[in-house]
Symmetry: C2
Subunit: 155 residues, 2 copies
Amino acid sequence: MSVTLDAIDRHILRVLQCDGRISNVELAREVGLSPSPCLRRVRLLEEAGIIDRYVAVLDPAKVGAGLTVFARVWFKTQDAEVTLRFAEAVRRFPEVMECYLTTGECDAVLRIVTADLHSYWRFQADHLTRIPGVLSVKTDVPMETLKRSYELPLR
Amino acid sequence: MSVTLDAIDRHILRVLQCDGRISNVELAREVGLSPSPCLRRVRLLEEAGIIDRYVAVLDPAKVGAGLTVFARVWFKTQDAEVTLRFAEAVRRFPEVMECYLTTGECDAVLRIVTADLHSYWRFQADHLTRIPGVLSVKTDVPMETLKRSYELPLR
DNA sequence: GGATGCTTCGCAAGCTCATTGCGTGAGGTT
DNA sequence: AACCTCACGCAATGAGCTTGCGAAGCATCC
């Protein structure tokens, strides 16, 4: 399902990445089409899976999720058993927004969202470090947000 | 600026975090209201800034942004001059999705999106390490994605 | 204890927008 | 040159958005 994106498709994607709830007529005007072929392109982009979904972006601070931290995790062993149990545990925690297995200095990198430092500390002590197979955790705590973007770069 | 969220508000936010383009009538049915008060609540949540925006989520792999890496950056000095220039530079790079200043082991943490390892290497060598004041960069390269969520946990 | 004010609900009307079918024109192939 | 294909624009229908208005629940105050 390799769809070739032309300039109009990329324009549509750029606009929808900024405003996922723009009306089709306005989107069409924006990209220089009439509504019907514009909607048809959007539907094709959705069916091809290029547009995965539409979501509302909430203000983290205003819904009690003001702190983002990055945790690096080391496992006791790197076998499939440990990583599988780790994956299952991590998927159950709503605080864990992203989790990747790495093969560098550490074994896993997590982006975790909580209300504040105290909440994070409790999460790390009560849940993260108690997942079987976890050897240690190092945390980078952001003091200030320089940038937070939701738009993938479209070449 | 109603900061107090009741159960229905949280229900609305939960649904909109999953599907930001759900129709208002369906959202209303989902949360057990008629369309008009439901829409009114959504508008209030938007005006209060609790709903920041709506965005389309693209499949990174299908738009040439398949690789996510985490970079930790060390500065030569920690003065305002260096961090300010770093912030400006970082905001100009569309590859940098997130950037935080930290006060732990390193000075800044970045989430960077590129097409592949080669593209990242070029970005790091040509741009990231050339920002004035940057001493060194360490990169954690994910081999596998265990979880990627867009839904903030709502207590 | 009852009246008043406030808030939020549901209903209805008007209007915009989404959706589909169909005809047309441009570009490439035989 | 004729044909085929693809994408566009137009028009009609139906669905959903939006707003004003009256009613019900609830707390406050006289």
